[in-house]
Symmetry: D2
Subunit: 365 residues, 4 copies
């Protein structure tokens, strides 16, 4: 297995020209594209349509090259977008290809596994049932990635369903009870259950710790490597698992760290060093040039304070707290990686401890 990693800039949400250029010059084989993780310049909220727009445009491009209708492209390639490029963050996509070329030399190199769960019923969203189903799915992705040791997993991106007015009605019609009746309020449950599913699969929590009353509540249970998101358009859970495997022939290595808070520069450095980048303080230009992609979560401090100082993220009625958090975290990361094209998204239930956030980095070997 060889994983290719290509970061392309975007001049707007419909700009697919950089990928088109890579395909045209033969650098990227469109048939080998398996996933895309990117940032668009929307507001990141419920009315952010830049994600759907970008997905459509990439699907049309790839579909043209593969002779497939756009819908079919959606079935073979995973698209993960986060809206909101606050502060210095720059709209871009990281495109992953997978091929069987190359010989593995037995050193740990970037590997990747993908798996999709069965459909999650509305009454299962945010429950123990979802936790277990996600755990099973993560285990399949782990096998596909040829990663034997959970400690070699550094980034698990999961997206799955939240509750919508329609899905709540569906549950009602069947006499089933949902975890909440508030669509927006279902997000923490959905993201939390998926994160706990990762934690369970990787042995970060044990099965007997997972009960209905811990999901989105007992934040002492968590995974350090998951990034989960919930959307109304999904009914199953898609898992993208990244780690290092001795069976991989990739030119990259992945690592991860933990951001203790929104200004934790040491956490950023730890992620880069975990991926094998050797540097002190700030990477020099050559070192920084080897950092291909960074994936982090950003969140408002649950205490409303950072290093003892109050911030106003949670009381600001004009700008959503996630936008404040992404702006801050993105700038701190970029001040070290020297590249503002970073993936930073919001919502950290059971993803690292309270107030903390995960960060993963892919580095060219």
């Amino acid at each position: 297995m060889k994983i290719g990693v290509w970061k392309v800039a975007m001049a707007n949400p419909s700009d697919v020209s950089e990928l088109a250029g890579l395909i045209d010059k033969g650098a990227v084989n469109p048939a080998e594209i398996v996933a895309l993780i990117g940032k668009t310049e929307g507001n990141g909220g419920a009315n952010d349509f830049t994600r759907g727009y970008a997905t459509l445009c990439y699907q049309l491009l790839i579909g043209r090259h593969l002779g497939l209708p756009q819908e079919e492209v959606g079935k073979r390639i995973a698209f993960v977008w986060s809206g909101g490029t606050e502060g210095v963050l720059s709209p871009h996509a990281t495109i992953f290809t997978r091929s069987s070329e190359g010989f593995a030399d037995g050193t740990l190199r970037l590997a990747m596994g993908m798996a999709i769960s069965r459909k999650i019923a509305p009454e299962e969203v945010g429950t123990v049932a979802q936790v277990k189903e996600v755990a099973a799915t993560v285990r399949r992705a782990l096998a596909e990635a040829a990663i034997a040791d959970g400690a070699d997993v550094h980034y698990v991106q999961v997206k799955g369903p939240l509750l919508t007015p329609a899905s709540i009605s569906d549950a009602d019609a069947r006499g089933a009870v949902t975890v909440t009746r508030d669509p927006n309020g279902s997000k923490p449950y959905a993201r939390g259950a998926m994160a706990l599913g990762v934690a369970l699969a990787l042995g970060e929590v044990s099965e007997d710790q997972i009960t209905a009353d811990v999901i989105a509540r007992d934040m002492a249970l968590f995974t350090s490597v998951a990034s989960t998101s919930a959307g109304g358009e999904l009914s199953d859970c898609e898992v993208l698992l990244f780690g290092n495997s001795p069976s991989s022939a990739s030119d990259f290595r992945i690592g991860h760290g933990i951001l203790k808070d929104a200004i934790d520069a040491d956490g950023v450095r730890a992620a880069l060093q975990s991926a094998g980048l050797v540097f002190e303080g700030t990477p020099n230009a050559e070192q920084a040039g080897r950092i291909v992609s960074v994936f982090a979560k950003a969140e408002a401090s649950p205490t409303g304070r950072i290093r003892g100082r109050r911030n106003t993220m949670l009381s600001d009625a004009d700008i959503n707290y996630e936008r404040h958090a992404r702006a801050a975290v993105g700038a701190v990361i970029a001040s070290i990686t020297l590249d503002p094209a970073i993936f930073v998204s919001g919502g950290t239930e059971h993803q690292c401890g309270p107030g903390e956030a995960p960060i993963a980095a892919i580095v060219r070997i």
Copy 2:
């Protein structure tokens, strides 16, 4: 001369309790307060009333202690507020006291001078006349600060008038011509002329370089130590000049650096080191504890790019670019100083080179 520096946190724009506590316990003598520079949690725009609210509340507090009506307090103390605590920035005020106590030991220590210009007529705003008047005012402040060498000046905060519909009408009535008829459009001229006034006084530009057509246009002319702001409520220019003087008995030293862009962590370090803080990479807790206050400007990149990557600050119709810039710069600084109570404000015409911004730091000796 001994300058005291007190940073107080604020739970909201009307919260003066920390200063009240310092006065009550005798740490701060209200009669010695000469200036306040702070951040409030408004939007930083034309309809940000948190600045006026905070000013009123501090004036009422100090007035009660001095037995003075609120208006009189406004005449003896300079208030400089910047609205907008984006990202991790924390609402606070730095309060400066000045007394004649203590013996100077001849080492360079924090000194401060204040001076006010004559009234600037509407037709002078943004013109060579204003540049020269500000330069003269800065020279008076320099003398008051007992600073002989311009190289010992590290931070000059100037605020003065912009054009308003009323002041434009006033000029019209007298047949005088203003630099623009657009009130909002007068800000760059006003801020720029004040910055060039500082540059002229400190010898960073020469008098023959200052012509009408360079103001807010030829950005190759600039000062590296000014931070200027323009407001509709002013008719004269207030100068707060900070530097180090051998005649000072203060417990602090000030330094400055230049932020090459919004993620220039090395620029932050240079400012701290310029103020005498000795550290490598990131200050440790003891070193960080000696950083009392940081004052920086933040600005969108004029090219729309940072380190080659496009950002969306200038095209965002929901969040003003100054808010994006402050969020990013504030987080980068705080990731090094480990304190989010930092003064970061917007608008950098002739304040450092294009795309750059000044940063000053006061450090306890």
Copy 3:
């Protein structure tokens, strides 16, 4: 009893010049001012400090005239501000005076009663206990207004406490249980309980209908004349009750109507006609000139639809739905009253039926 009604425009939240002018020329006796209801130009959210700023400035003005410290003014005069002047809405205050001058001629004229509840404990907020306490308070205000018939009540403004992190901690410390642990989520409970208290006092619901599980849930129970708001700074409930009484010598009459949705022009007309204004279609200039003040609530449709058409208020992550709703309702009202200085605020739990909102109007006789 004679109630005076004075509407003053405000150039900014600290502008008290119009009231100052009315006092200076003897039109308003500052000792007779009992209440102020106004709109400020903030964002209407948790970080809208324009309300506190305006309160402080009016208290300072009135305090100067009465020789009272500002805090004492706050105890004798009720201040009700709603932040957010979206669309055409214009910042202003309606000031109410009360005196014993004049003879009542037995016709129904504007009367007013004020009363304050005992302190509401955190564990009582949003509960039946609060409903009953508000009902008792409304009954006292009714008596003070000399209104015998509940049908003569047209506008009851109530403000009271919501839950804050501090008040929840206080309840915890005493082992008491609050209705929710989410401060923001306590608003509907608090507003709803106060509205049901009004409904109970006026006989719009019966005591046996009021149980814990109906508050903020069973929207078939409601009052048609209350406007309630909840704020973190309060611990008791303040009631301002307006109606018509034969014992009043006022020059005004009040009436009310119901807005079926955000574009219900007929509901606006009904309120004006209920107050005694005789007109067809749109008032002419003379008729419009007799409309002194209008007080309305605005709310997003719970279905997300108005007249069968979807709107985007509830999914907009950039602009809060209350701001959309106030902009729309304010413009519709102003298109009929021909005066954009209208009081429109948000949050309608148990205030008219689901999707509906109350509107009251004071008209000069």
Copy 4:
């Protein structure tokens, strides 16, 4: 000529299901579609990508039916979108078809003409050259619509280029001078020149009145029936002209009115009555049901006041003034037409007198 008018609701910017349904059941012949004018739920600013997204989705749908690539659909059908559904406004599109079926009975019925100008060079944007070119284009559209009398024209939608950094560079390279160097600042010039082009073609201004110094400056010159918009993606000017013609066999009639300000309900009524709808005060359900589409402009008052009351549209740093204006105007119109699916867009240079705005209505006969 027979013009069909179909209003379709949209559940999101990519929702083309209502048009798909009309095509599937044979009500709309996709080959006859000539234009679409609609509102999307973006922010209406430079970073509003909902317009491009909706265009792409409609082009893909129609292209599938016509067997044409998406780009070709763009060449045969005019797409005009305005972003921003503030207040009650509802996302929708009005689709126009044109066929030769039916016999004209000689009464005035809805007619439509379309024409495209030659490319406008960057140095011509906002100049007399553009005014004249637009005028010539409008005359061609007039002929195509078979309208002999300019008084029968009620709505002329024009969109054309603004200046972009790229087009300014292009002019620079050729030594040509543009009307401004500020891309955003070019909008008033571009919109103004197109509006004056309509005024010139329809005889509302004379050719000798059109000089360089009146464009975007002398607002006493204007057209009462144009709605113009400028976008960076265009290089020519597209004219959609609507009026009534005795040669038309359409089932609709169009009329127009003038909104004196944002709360001018009488202006709304005048537009409906001009289109032939007979009613007093507010249309009843049957009358309202005959109103098919309404097209209006909304703008902040240049004085900052409406009916003598200050509004805060122009000083609000959180919400753009165009969003405030659309929310207000849309609600006032909907309160009369009883349908919130209305086209309201911003920017009125030379479109009606200062502070005024055009409104057109299409009514089923």
